[in-house]
Symmetry: C3
Subunit: 350 residues, 3 copies
C-alpha cells in the first residue's frame, strides 16, 4: 500500500492546500465509499460539504472552495479541475496489474511473427502467421490473432478477443475482453429465393489511442477498410458495421449500433443504445441522445434526439405537446359545445 | 431414460391424480411438443383442453380442473401451481450434465490457489494467482480468472467467461458463456483535445444465487465496487456500468443497458432493451416496460414505460391520444369552418 | 495477386463489354476506394458517372448503361444485376483464407467423436464426447463444443464460439466469433421470495445455410428446441430466446432481441435493434422497421414500425401529426379567441 501526504498530493496535482498538509493518505474513493485514509473529491461547490462529511481524510476541491464552507473540517486540496486532479491521483493509487512477461509456453504462434521488445503473450493465446506485435504490448489468454495482423506498441488485448486476418491496430490501443474485430460484414443479395453472401474482403483499421470495450463487434469492410479514428473510445456491446469510418476522439456509449457504410466525423458523441441507419454521414461534433435513431445525414455540431433524430430542443417540446393532448381534446370539446350553443341561438334569432 | 408413473409424479409434486395413476411417464414437454410418454402442463383452465388434446400421456393441471372438462381423456395431476409443479418435474427428467471432475492437465493455474473440495477446472482454463474457488464449483474451458478472484461454493462458470482481477463471486452463482465481469468502467475526461482515461481501480461483487446470462458485461467500479445483489437474475447481452448497485432478486431481461452509478432497489424488473441513465436511483419493486428509457429517479413500486419512462397507464393513454390526432385535426377544421360561417352571418346581421 | 481482363470478367458474369476488353484487372473495390487495376460497379444509372469518375479501370454497369453517358471513358461490363455480378467477381478476388488442416495437437477431443473427411480442428479447441463433425468443417481456436453436438458438412465455426450440449447444426453453417448457442433459457418462477430456475432441457437446432454473426446468443428450449430455419442470416449481438422458431431465409439485423417462444415465419426481416415480446407469432414476409417493438401477432406480409409496431405508413403519418401539434395549439387558441369575441357580441346583441 502506498502512503503519501496531503501536501505531496497537492504538489502532484498542482493544487493548493488549505488545512493540515501532513495528513496521511493511503487510498482514494468517491464520496459514498470514502474511509479514513482516503482522499475524495468535490467536483463543484454543491458537492463540497457532502465530501467534507464523508469518511475521507482529505478533499480535492474547486479553487473557490474554502474550509469556511464545510461543516466537518478536513484538509482541502484546491485545484482548477477537481475531476481531473482526482483522475491523476487515481493513477498513483492504481495497483500496478501484475502482468505475465514473455511468451507463455502454451501460446501457439505462427510463422514469421515479428515481436517487439518486452511483448507479453499469455497462456493459450493463438497468433497466426506474419503477425507483427509492437513493443510492450500484452496479449492475454484465449486471444486469437489471425494472419497478417499488425499491432502497434503499448497495446493491451484482454482475454477472448478476436482480431481476424489483416486487422491493423495502432499504438496504445486497449481492447477489452470478448470483442471481435474483422468479422464479415452483413451483406447478402436475395436472388432466386435465397440469400447469396457478398464476400467481405476488406479489413478493420484501428488508429492510435483507441479504447474498445468488452464484447464489441466491428465488421471488416466489403473492400477497403472499416476505420476507427485516433483517440476514439467505444463502450461495451457496441456494433460497428462494415465500411464505417469513425473519426477521431469520438465517444460511443454502450449498446450503440452503427449500420454499414456510415461516416462519422470527429468528436461525435453517440449516447447509449443509439442506432444509425446505413450510409448516413454524421458531421463533426454531433451529439446524439440516448436511444435515438439516426436515419439521415446530420450536419456538424447539432445535438439531436428521438426515434427519428431531430434537434433535441424540438424533441423535448414535442414530448410536452403530447403530454398536453388530453387538455387539447377538452378545449376542442368545449369549443364545439359553445359553438353549437351559438349556432342554436343564431338559428333562433333568424 | 428415467421412467416413472403418474402416481409417483403426483406424489413428488404434492398433487392429486384424477384418472389412471399407473400410466408410464418417461419425458416432459410443453403442449406443442408433447408425445406419448410425456407429461405436459396446463397453466390455467383455458389451456386445459389444449393440453388434453396434445400428444402427452398426462397433464399437470390446476386444482379446479376436472376430466369432465376435457375432450380427450388423460390422467390429470391436479396441483396448486401447475407451472411450479412442471418445473419440479423438469428436474426429474433433466439429464444430469456429465461434468469433467478434477483439474484438467491443460489448465493453467497460478500460485497460491485455494481450491475447495470437488472443484472442476476444465481443459485450457486459466486461473491467476491468489485465487480461491469454493467446493463443487465448476470452471469450464477458456474461462479466464484473474488474480485475487474469490469464487464461492457450487458455482458454474461456463466457457469463455472472464472474471477480471479482484472480482468476488458468492455461492451458487451461475455465469453463462462469454460474459465479462470487471472490465474497466467507461470513464474519460476530455482535456486539451483528447480523452484522458480515468483509472478504474474498484471491482465487481456478485452475491449468492445470482445467475448471469451469456455475453453480459459488468464493469468494475472506479473505486469501491459494482454490486449485483443476492438472487438477482440477468439475461443475455446485458450491460451494467461501473459503480452500479443492483439490489436483491431483481430480474434484468436481455439487452438492457444500465449506465454508471445507477442504484437499483430490490425486486426490480427491467424488461428487454431498457436503458437507464447514469446516477439514477430506482426504488424497490419498480417495473420498467420493454425498450423504455429511464432518465430520472423512480420511487418504489411504480410501473413505468416509454422513451422517457412515465407511469405506464399514462403512456398507454398518450398512445391512444396520438392515434386520435387525425380526428382532432378534422374537428378543428370543422370548428374553423363553422365559426367562419357564423362570423359571416354576424357581419351581415350588423 | 490474380490478374484477369475485362473480357474475361464479362464472360464470368455473363455480361457484355462496351470499350476495351483487354484492360487488365487485378482487384475490386467500391466507388470510393477504387484505384487503377480495380473493377467497381454502378448499381443503377444514377451512380454510373460516379463509378466512371472513380479510380477504377472498369465498371460493372446496368444493361441500360452506355459509354455515351459517362464523363470519363472506361470499359463497361453491362449485366442484368450489377450488384450480383460484383458479388460474383468479389469471389474471384477474395483471398483464399489459409486454413489450418487437420487436428492441432493442442485441441482436446472427447470420446467417440465422429469426424468427417478433411475436418480442421484448430489449436486449443475443446470438443466433448459423442460429437459428430461433417466433412470439410473448420473449428477455430477456443471453440467449445459440448457433448452430443452434431455439426454438418462445410461448416465454419470461428474462434470463441460455444455450442452447448446437444446442439444440432446443419450443413454449410457459418458461426462467427464469440457466439453462444444453447445457453439456458431465461425462465424463473418467483415463489416464497426467491426466483426458482425452471430447468431448461431442450436444445438449439440450426438448419442448413444459416449464418450467425459475432457475439450472438441463442438460448436452448425449455423442452423441445429453439430452431433457426434454413438460409436465415443473423447479424452481430442478436439475442434469440428459448423455444423460438425462426423460419427460412429470414434476415435478423444487429442487436435485435427476440423473447422466448416467438414464432417467426419465412422471409421475415427484422431491422436493427428491434425487440419482440414473448409468445408472439409473426407471419411470412413481415418487415419490422429498425428499433421497433412488436407486442402482438403480425399477419403475413405487413411492414410495421414504431414502439408498438403498427403499419409503417400510419406510423409515418403519426410522426407528421405530432410535428404539427404546435400549429394545432395555435389554431385552437385562435378559435377560442374568435368564439369569445362572438359570444361577447351576441351578449351585447341580446
Amino acid at each position: 500500500m502506498k502512503e503519501t501526504t496531503v501536501e505531496q498530493l497537492a504538489a502532484f496535482v498542482d493544487g493548493f492546500v488549505e488545512g493540515d498538509g501532513n495528513v496521511l493518505i493511503s487510498g482514494i474513493a468517491n464520496i459514498e465509499d470514502a474511509q479514513t485514509g482516503d482522499v475524495t473529491f468535490a467536483e463543484n461547490s454543491k458537492l463540497l460539504d457532502n465530501a467534507a462529511r464523508s469518511g475521507a481524510s482529505a478533499v480535492i476541491a474547486p479553487q473557490t472552495a474554502s474550509q469556511l464552507d464545510i461543516s466537518v473540517q478536513k484538509p482541502l486540496i484546491r485545484v482548477k479541475n477537481p475531476r481531473f486532479a482526482f483522475a491523476q491521483v487515481l493513477r498513483i493509487f492504481a495497483p500496478e496489474p501484475k502482468i505475465f512477461k514473455g511468451i507463455h509456453p502454451s501460446a501457439v504462434i505462427g510463422s514469421d511473427a515479428i515481436l517487439g521488445e518486452n511483448v507479453s503473450i499469455h497462456a493459450n493465446a493463438v497468433v497466426g502467421d506474419n503477425v507483427s506485435i509492437g513493443a510492450n504490448s500484452v496479449i492475454y489468454p484465449f486471444t486469437y490473432i489471425g494472419d497478417n495482423v499488425v499491432l502497434g506498441n503499448n497495446c493491451v488485448i484482454y482475454p477472448n478477443v478476436v482480431l481476424h486476418d489483416n486487422t491493423a491496430i495502432g499504438n496504445s490501443v486497449v481492447i477489452h475482453s470478448g470483442s471481435v474485430l474483422g468479422t464479415d460484414g452483413f451483406g447478402y443479395m436475395f436472388i432466386d429465393d435465397r440469400h447469396y453472401k457478398i464476400p467481405q474482403i476488406g479489413r478493420v483499421i484501428v488508429e492510435d489511442d483507441v479504447e474498445i470495450g468488452a464484447n464489441v463487434t466491428i465488421d471488416k469492410a466489403r473492400t477497403g477498410s472499416t476505420t476507427i479514428g485516433r483517440g476514439t473510445k467505444i463502450d461495451n456491446l457496441v456494433h460497428i458495421g462494415h465500411n464505417c469510418t469513425v473519426g477521431e476522439n469520438c465517444v460511443i456509449v454502450a449498446q450503440v449500433g452503427v449500420s454499414g457504410s456510415v461516416n462519422i466525423g470527429r468528436g461525435v458523441i453517440l449516447a447509449g443504445q443509439v442506432g444509425i441507419k446505413d450510409h448516413v454521414t454524421i458531421g463533426d461534433g454531433v451529439i446524439v441522445g440516448a436511444k435515438s435513431g439516426v436515419i439521415g445525414d446530420l450536419p456538424s455540431g447539432v445535438f439531436v434526439s428521438g426515434r427519428y433524430a431531430r434537434p433535441h430542443q424540438g424533441e423535448m417540446r414535442k414530448i410536452v405537446e403530447v403530454e398536453r393532448l388530453p387538455e387539447q381534446r377538452r378545449r376542442i370539446k368545449a369549443l364545439e359545445k359553445r359553438l353549437a350553443q351559438i349556432e342554436k341561438s343564431l338559428g333562433e334569432l333568424e
